[in-house]
């Protein structure tokens, strides 16, 4: 330990980052360093320090002008500059090192040696290169270049020769060089260190092929160090190494299984294991340390081959980065040199052992199974393997390594295809299945016919809801009574025995509802109660099995025992006039049915239903029968509910509120519609305002009704209830019309006139007659008073008699009765007596007996409407019944008869006789001496056309009467068949027929012979209201002519709906009947299977589905895979 100063050589290996805060700190320290040394060198030192700091500042500014580091560096620089100024006395100027110091520095440097300068030049050169590399035009670069040139000049001065790189001057000793270096400046040392670092870095790069990264010791070098160390170690050492490396690998894997570090560590581990195997001859087994055995055979060739391996890896890396760089070329050169060495030493070519590339391969299969389901993982593996294959091929396309890699790739691809193609195929199957479902649900028609047998139901042939002011009646289809098992009831026994038990004895395993197929006449007094109270009947399918004879005493009236009880004039109609015929006391119409009803007219459709029953539902010889059953589905839904009050009110509300404009474009879409029909009024003598009438004319109303109903309202043939009476009236009218002069003379003389009125809706609480009375009371009958009419309206007080004939044809033993109200009889006793006498005379002539019935309570008739508002009008009903109806099918679906000649004659005779009696009544009233007689032929014709024929226009007479003016092609029951129901739409052709008949009967065409066409005929009707002119054909000849008549028709609904503020619920004065709007479905017949059927079909479907999947997946790949060139790849074509 002498006191000689020895230089302290510090080697700082910079970590490679280019930020200068550390540098600035270091340079700070370095900068402060020089300030503490002697002043002789202070200036230069400071100058250099300032330079360095300046560089640092510039760098930092370029990076981030506002960072704290930059600010610190700038502060330091300013301080240095201040110092410099203190020391030298001048400002720091770049490019001007302090001169006074310079010689000292220079002499000090020159006294040092050329070696110093040489080293300085080297350092400066490196610096310059660095700076140039960063930015060739910066001020720092220029400064550095300037300094370099300065140094080179110095060197030349000192040594006398130019500075040549790689040729250090020989003389100076490292120590001498070192010491002034130590006193020279730490900065120089720093620069030297920098330079040294750069040189070392370059060396490192050449050696390893990668950039030096702090903290990442080269892994690929490990084979070299391992191999170098392995030649000296024992198997036990290797074993320990393996253990250690295994731990390292586990650590790295847990951190990140795919990083480069992990891969390197795994490679190292595998290398160690290989080594171990070579050394010991056995595989490495954890927990089995090797027995100390023979020292390892250090094979020089092993060493060499390992080096070659390592170098090969380096080359591959470099190539993958840049195949043409200098580094790559160097590395390749080194590799080739090694290989030559190997060949020289061993005498054979170097053959690569399974490379780390192969080592990498085992790692991928390890990871593959864990992610075989994940599509992305599979794809990634395939990509990796593809890269490996490419590498292997680039090395040697024919080697075993390449072949293995290719096989692996193909295996992976096949695996991918298997899992993924099958799944996409399943997805396609499912989509096709869904698509077909979708398509078939849109287009149901494809399957409909295979599932259902459909029977269309006409509008009007099913029972729907009728409502009056307080209640709802009729049938409504719900989900409960929609479907049922079809059962045919052939006789009453079927009903009595089975309905009570819900057919359990015949269909033991069926729990649902039943549709009964039965004829209408089976709804009788003794069966209807059972049907009504049963809770397992979905509905009734009704058909006409037998048409009765008028003589049959069948009790099948669907009206109540006291018809129109609520609107009867008598507060207490004691008599139950229909008690003989009524099936239920309240009638079948006024019942809220739980079941539905359908009426089928067509015999073929009935046959279909019967066949369905006989095939599936008919028990064999009275036993039981099981599934499959023939089921039926039918639904009629009503919109209205509650009563007329509620639904009509809601309809009005809806009309006023927003709903209407949104849904229906301003039309009334009330759920229920009041019953409304056409009423026809025929006046033989036209009304006119003649001033010479001092007294008001009085009228005798010859009334008839034109409507009836059944339990299904539209199905109402009404032969006896309605049509026979109409025929009588029309015939009488015709008789008056043909003898017009006599009758008109007598009328005008007595000032007593006749009015034929055919009212509509009388069976529904006198709709037509009450509306007429209402009009009369408001002086609006027959028309509202307008300026153009010269009409003398008819008031209620002018009506003296209401004469009606009812139920003609049902008389027993030719006995007829005349009903007169007793209370009002006394007012006009003589007159009435006179009339009755006249009637008797007439009837006796025709062979009928008549009994006068002057009673307290007269039968229901249109008179009741008049009587309510007038005390004087008198009732006269000529009918074949006395206290109870004789006819058992009044207002019934069965009011239809078969006719043979005998019956026909009987009824026709009765009609004729009563018609004559009407004429007698009228003649007596108007004061005609000899009443005219009716035309029998007309009665014949009318009877044939209106009663016997199946449809209204089947007969010639009506065809001619129509003359082709109207074609009735509607699809409702009233259009297709004969119906007398009032309805709501005016669809019934009967009103046209009656209108034309009255015009024919009461009108004449003699006054209008000059009118030759319809238009001018219509023209005559305008501007006057006394007569109406109709262009109508003669029903006998079919020739059109213009008929002048005083026949008008009014469409009338109940005044309850016309009067403002009328309380529909409470006021019984007028009819409050409404009909619900309904929608009708068609009958669908289908097969009902039991529940096990469903399960079997489900299982079958699943089975078929699975089968279809298997049949598709069994297809070979070749059918689906497009050739992508793998065959070629296998044979060695480059990818």
């Amino acid at each position: 330990m002498s006191g000689v100063e020895t230089p302290l050589l510090l080697i700082a290996i910079p970590d490679g980052h280019t930020t200068t805060p550390a540098v600035s700190k270091e340079s700070q320290k370095v900068a402060t360093g020089p300030s503490t040394t002697g002043s002789s060198n202070a200036g230069l030192e400071i100058y250099n320090a300032i330079d360095a700091q300046g560089l640092i500042v510039r760098e930092l500014k370029a990076k981030d002008a506002k960072s704290q580091a930059t600010k610190d560096a700038i502060a330091k620089l300013l301080e240095l500059k201040k110092q410099y100024k203190e020391v030298t006395g001048t400002d720091h100027k770049p490019g001007n090192p302090p001169a006074s110091q310079a010689p000292v520095a220079a002499s000090s440097t020159s006294s040092n040696s050329a070696l110093d300068i040489y080293n300085a030049i080297d350092a400066q050169g490196l610096l310059v290169r660095e700076l140039k590399g960063k930015d060739a035009k910066s001020q720092a670069t220029k400064d550095a270049i300037a300094k370099l040139l300065e140094l080179k000049k110095q060197y030349k001065e000192v040594t006398g020769s130019d500075h040549k790189p790689g040729n250090p001057p020989a003389s100076p000793t490292p120590a001498v060089a070192a010491s002034p270096k130590s006193s020279n400046s730490a900065l120089d040392i720093y620069n030297a260190i920098d330079a040294q670092g750069l040189i070392l870095k370059k060396q490192y790069k050449e050696a390893t092929g990668t950039d030096h990264k702090p903290g990442n010791p080269p892994a690929s070098q490990t084979p070299a160090p391992v191999s170098s160390s392995s030649s000296n170690t024992s198997p036990l050492d290797v074993y320990n190494d393996i253990e250690k490396q295994g731990n390292i690998v586990r650590d790295l894997k847990s951190k990140d299984a795919k990083s480069q570090a992990t891969k390197d560590a795994i490679a190292k581990l595998l290398e160690l294991k290989k080594q171990y195997k070579e050394l010991t001859g056995a595989d490495h087994k954890p927990g089995n340390p090797p027995v100390a055995s023979a020292p390892p055979i250090s094979n020089n060739n092993d060493d060499l081959s390992k080096q070659i391996d390592a170098q090969g890896l380096i080359v591959r890396d470099l190539k993958s980065k840049d195949a043409k760089s200098q580094e790559t070329k160097d590395a390749i050169a080194k590799l080739l040199a090694l290989k030559k060495q190997y060949k020289e030493s061993t005498g054979s070519d170097y053959k690569p052992a399974p490379s780390p590339a192969a080592a990498a391969v085992p790692s991928t299969p390890v990871s593959a199974p864990t992610s075989s389901i994940d599509e992305n993982a599979l794809l990634k593996e395939i990509e990796d393997q593809g890269a490996i294959v490419r590498e292997a091929k680039s090395k040697d396309p024919k080697s075993q390594e390449s072949a293995d890699a290719i096989n692996k790739l193909l295996a992976l691809k096949a695996n991918f295809k298997k899992t993924y193609v099958v799944m996409t195929r399943i997805a396609i199957l499912v989509q096709i299945f869904i698509f077909f479902n979708f398509v078939t649900t849109i287009n149901c028609e494809g399957f409909f016919d295979e599932v259902f047998q459909r029977i269309n139901i006409q509008e009007g042939t099913a029972c729907y809801r009728l409502l009056n002011g307080t209640d709802q009646f009729g049938c409504h289809g719900t989900s409960k009574n929609e479907n049922g098992l079809l059962v045919e009831i052939k006789n009453e026994q079927g009903i009595f025995e089975n309905i009570g038990k819900c057919f359990k004895n015949i269909y033991p395993d069926y729990d649902g509802m039943f549709w009964l197929l039965l004829p209408v006449e089976m709804i009788k007094k003794n069966t209807v109660a059972i049907i009504k109270t049963s809770n397992c009947i979905a509905g009734l399918v009704l058909y006409n099995e037998k048409v009765f004879n008028i003589d049959d005493s069948i009790e099948a009236s669907h009206d109540s025992e006291c018809p129109n009880r609520l609107s009867d004039f008598y507060k207490d109609p004691a008599k139950n006039i229909n008690s003989k015929g009524a099936i239920l006391p309240e009638g079948l119409r006024d019942i809220h049915w739980d079941l539905q009803m359908v009426f089928i007219d067509n015999s073929t459709e009935i046959e279909v239903l019967k066949k369905c029953y006989s095939l599936f539902n008919q028990p064999i010889s009275g036993g039981t029968i099981s599934h499959p059953y023939c089921g039926m589905s039918f639904k009629l839904s009503n919109a209205a509910a509650g009563n007329s009050d509620i639904c009509y009110r809601r309809g009005i509300d809806a009309m006023n509120s927003l709903q209407i404009s949104l849904d229906t474009n301003g039309q009334n879409n009330a759920p229920c519609i009041p019953l409304v029909g056409y009423n026809i009024f025929g006046l033989p003598i036209g009304l006119s305002t003649l001033a010479n009438f001092s007294r008001e004319p009085t009228y005798m109303v010859l009334a008839s009704r034109m409507d009836s109903f059944g339990v299904i309202a539209d199905v109402s043939p009404g032969e006896i209830s309605v049509i026979t009476s109409l025929i009588a009236m029309i015939s009488a009218a015709r008789s008056i019309g043909t003898n017009f002069e006599n009758w008109s003379k007598a009328s005008k003389k007595s000032n007593k006139y006749l009015m034929f009125s055919t009212f509509n809706g009388e069976s529904f609480d006198y709709i037509g007659s009450s509306a007429t009375v209402h009009l009369m009371r408001n002086s609006e009958f027959p028309l509202p008073i307008l300026n153009i009419t010269q009409l003398r309206n008819i008031n209620l007080q002018q009506i003296e008699y209401v004469v009606e004939v009812q139920q003609l044809g049902s008389s027993k033993n030719k006995k007829l009765y005349a009903h007169v109200d007793k209370k009002r009889y006394s007012n006009k006793k003589e007159e009435i007596d006179g009339i009755l006498k006249r009637i008797r005379e007439s009837l006796v002539q025709d062979g009928y007996t008549i009994n006068m019935s002057i009673e307290n309570v007269t039968p229901p008739s249109s008179w009741h409407s008049f009587a309510k508002f007038d005390e004087n009008v008198q009732n006269l009903v000529i009918a074949p019944f006395d206290e109870t109806y004789e006819y058992g099918r009044f207002n019934s679906m069965l009011d239809k008869n078969t006719w043979n000649d005998e019956n026909k004659n009987k009824v026709k005779k009765e009609i004729e006789a009563v018609s004559n009696s009407i004429l007698s009544t009228a003649a007596q009233y108007v004061g005609l001496e000899n009443a005219t007689k009716v035309d029998e032929k007309l009665i014949d014709i009318l009877f044939e056309c209106m009663i016997v024929s199946r449809n209204w226009f089947d007969c010639d007479f009506f065809k001619k009467l129509n003359g082709g003016r109207y074609e009735f092609i509607g699809q409702t029951y009233s259009m297709q068949s004969k119906s007398t129901y009032i309805g709501v739409g005016g669809n019934n052709p009967l009103r046209f027929i009656l209108h034309w008949l009255y015009i024919f009967a009461l009108g004449s065409d003699r006054e209008t012979l000059n009118v030759k066409d319809g238009k001018s005929c219509m023209h005559l009707s305008e501007n006057q209201a006394v007569y109406s002119y109709d262009w109508q054909p003669n029903p006998y000849t079919g020739n059109f002519s213009c008929y002048r008549s005083s026949v008008r028709f009014n469409q009338l609904q109940s005044p309850a709906f016309d009067i403002e503020g009328y309380s529909i619920k409470n006021n019984r004065t007028y009819s409050t009947w409404t009909e619900s709007v309904y929608t009708i479905d068609s009958i669908k017949l289908f097969i009902m299977e039991d529940s096990s059927f469903d399960y079997i079909m489900l299982i079958l479907a699943i089975f078929v589905f699975i089968l279809s999947i298997f049949s598709i997946t069994r297809c070979k790949e070749d059918t689906f895979i497009i050739d992508e060139g793998e065959q070629l790849a296998e044979s060695g074509e480059p990818l």
């Binding site: 009503n638 919109a639 509910a641 509650g642 509620i646 009110r649 809601r650 709903q659």
Partner: protein, 101 residues
């Protein structure tokens, strides 16, 4: 939203805003306002801010109770009286059912 972290004035603003929003026939907004600021208004020591919040919360509670009464009574009338087909009860509904009262 945790209201303990916002300033007092913001709390008052929020409570007030919710109160006014609830006044647009939105009873659930009032209910939410009452529940949200209930602890703030009544369970903590009183300050000027809390006094204001208390007022709004009371208003919200009153409004909620009012709406509850209105809605419950409407519902009772609707369910009980409307199906009887009473005339005034029909004004409770906008769409009439088809096929039943």
């Amino acid at each position: 939203m945790d209201i303990s972290k916002i300033t007092d004035t913001k709390k008052v603003d929020l409570c007030k805003k919710y109160f006014y929003i609830g006044a647009c026939c939105l009873p659930f907004v009032w209910l939410a306002n009452a529940c949200w600021f209930f602890s703030e208004a009544f369970l903590l020591p009183i300050t000027t801010h809390r006094q204001q919040i208390r007022r709004y919360v009371i208003g919200s509670i009153v409004g909620t109770v009012f709406w509850i009464i209105v809605l419950v009574s409407w519902e009772t009338f609707f369910q009980h009286y409307r199906q009887q087909g009473i005339e005034w009860a029909d004004s409770l509904t906008f769409v009439y059912p088809k096929g039943r009262v």
